[in-house]
Symmetry: C2
Subunit: 351 residues, 2 copies
């Protein structure tokens, strides 16, 4: 009887070992974790960083609980041109809000939004934009807001690509997120965009749960609805402006430790990268340069690219990147594809 | 040759299976995940909640990414009498701060602190305490603050137990934290205490990393030191008062979703428990009642316990707990031991 058991177990073990070997071979065959990246300095920087900080024998080894990587969103993880997605949302919400609050109808800047005059809207001052944001992003409960954003995202389309905004994440960056997570890194979004807005889709689009989204955040107010059920209502009070110096401040507030890697694309990410780089050991700081008007957009004004109001990458930022050893990612040269739906794969250019 | 391999693998597999079986039996023998809890309603509530929300066949199953449990700290996870640990820290920091800022020496409330008159200190108004907190918890960099707190915790002793404060975590609650984590829950501290203060030791004491500590938080200011190195300096500006309604507000700010379990011990935790309970499905709300003056402290004023200023558990809170089905944990009856160093284990009382 015992002998029979031995044979059964032996057969089972052999099957199991063969299966494991098969899987191991399969993994080796498809082993490039960054298939949408051309070979080059940018791709190597990512691969080397992961190797140096996860190899126990490396002097730059980082313990798993300290592995934190932060990513700006707009222009770093997804398209921000011609206008930040959240601003489009807010502008498109104005008619709904005006229906509930008709007194806004004849008041600027709401009047201009209702007129549909896009050129006039493009000239809005920061104060006017803030007024629109305040009115469209507060006054409702957190649950109502989430439902509204979800509804909007399900149908709204990007004017150039004619695809939903949630399809416009950069495929190479999705691979970096996945690769760093596979190496034990917690991946955080640290965005100038609204924390509550980004949380609605971050899990679906980036595999990032709500508690790993740090963003510009307003206060909420605890109360009770008519049936006595507790509610949190979004207030027009700004708690954290998660841009520029606000990024390291927000990282400290929500995460509480210094990242080992930080990715951005504009001057608003400068302090986050500085703060990350000021830690000891191996740190990875990278900036996406939008130099690919054919597949995406071209804007700087660094390296002679056009100067736009959205996602500015100045020559000063390029100089600081060079001085501090931050790696600039050329969208044109470093990315074999930009979106998951890109039909064409660009081969590695000769360097 | 192949045959030899088969036999080798068979032998290895048998060894392995025997080992696994042995381990399984061992685990079953020591299978009580809450050994410091007496059998009873409180212990059962915890065990049932974990079973209901992690069993895939249960109608109240909760997906792993949604499993969030929040814990108040002072009086729920560790001792808060005769005074909150952080307030003791702040009072003991006053002489150091006055050495750097001698102009405070003759000003109240600092003068009283320097006099050492504990009775007068116990009468401090909220405004006076806030002044002491502002002066001792801001003005330094985040790194300096962490180093100071670490140094203090290494030597400061609790006046009654004559042990370091970090030894005064409740053993039964440490078991709950571990048990819920083993069931896939992310365990968060949601404390009225200072977020930066608690983060210094939360990992060591509770196994909770900095990003899972939500607390009363002040702003920080990004800047550069003399050598040009980026710094974050603690400011006296309050961002989040993580008490009462501030607890659900802080949970939304940092975690971004509703907890499935919440533990507290005082009126400051009421809104957190209400907010937790207002979600659908199985939710676990528990309150620690300090009814054990022999092993710890006895205070209410619920159930005729003494009324103190620290960690108030009112009759109104007890009524709400009963009405809403929150489980009250009797320290005296439910806990076989209070601290890990307790020599004695109290048997389950007859009920």
């Amino acid at each position: 009887m015992l002998n029979r058991w031995f044979r059964l177990i032996a057969a089972w073990a052999v099957l199991w070992v063969l299966l494991l070997a098969e899987r191991g071979l399969g993994q080796e065959r498809a082993s490039d974790p960054l298939p949408s990246w051309n070979d080059g300095a940018a791709k190597n920087a990512i691969l080397n960083f992961a190797r140096q900080t996860t190899d126990r024998a490396s002097p730059q080894y980082v313990r798993p609980e300290q592995r934190v990587a932060t990513f700006d969103q707009d222009g770093t993880l997804w398209v921000e041109h011609p206008m930040y997605t959240q601003v489009v949302y807010c502008l498109e919400r104005v008619p709904v809000v005006v229906k509930e609050r008709p007194e806004l109808k004849d008041r600027e800047p709401f009047k201009t939004v209702l007129s549909g005059n896009r050129e006039a809207m493009a000239r809005f001052s920061m104060k006017e934009l803030e007024e629109i944001l305040a009115v469209t992003l507060s006054g409702m409960t957190v649950d109502e807001f989430q439902a509204e954003v979800k509804r909007w995202l399900a149908t709204a389309k990007h004017p150039r690509y004619q695809r939903r905004y949630t399809e416009l994440a950069y495929q190479p960056m999705l691979e970096v997120l996945k690769f760093l997570r596979a190496n034990g890194y917690k991946t955080y979004i640290v965005t100038g965009g609204g924390q509550d807005f980004v949380r609605v889709y971050a899990d679906q689009v980036y595999g990032i749960p709500p508690e790993q989204v740090v963003g510009t955040a307003g206060g909420t107010k605890y109360g009770y609805d008519k049936s006595g059920r507790p509610t949190l209502t979004k207030e027009p009070k700004l708690l954290l402006n998660d841009n520029d110096a606000g990024k390291p401040e927000g990282i400290h507030l929500v995460i509480g430790c210094r990242p080992y890697a930080a990715f951005g694309n504009s001057t608003g990410d400068r302090q986050m990268l500085e703060y990350t780089g000021a830690g000891g050991g191996a740190r990875l700081m990278m900036l996406v340069l939008h130099d690919d008007g054919a597949r995406e957009y071209a804007y700087g004004p660094a390296r002679g690219l056009p100067d736009t109001r959205v996602g500015t990458f100045t020559s000063q930022l390029a100089d600081e990147a060079e001085a501090r050893g931050w790696v600039v990612i050329s969208m044109k040269n470093d990315w074999r594809r930009v979106f998951s739906f890109d039909p064409e794969v660009v081969p590695t250019p000769a360097r």
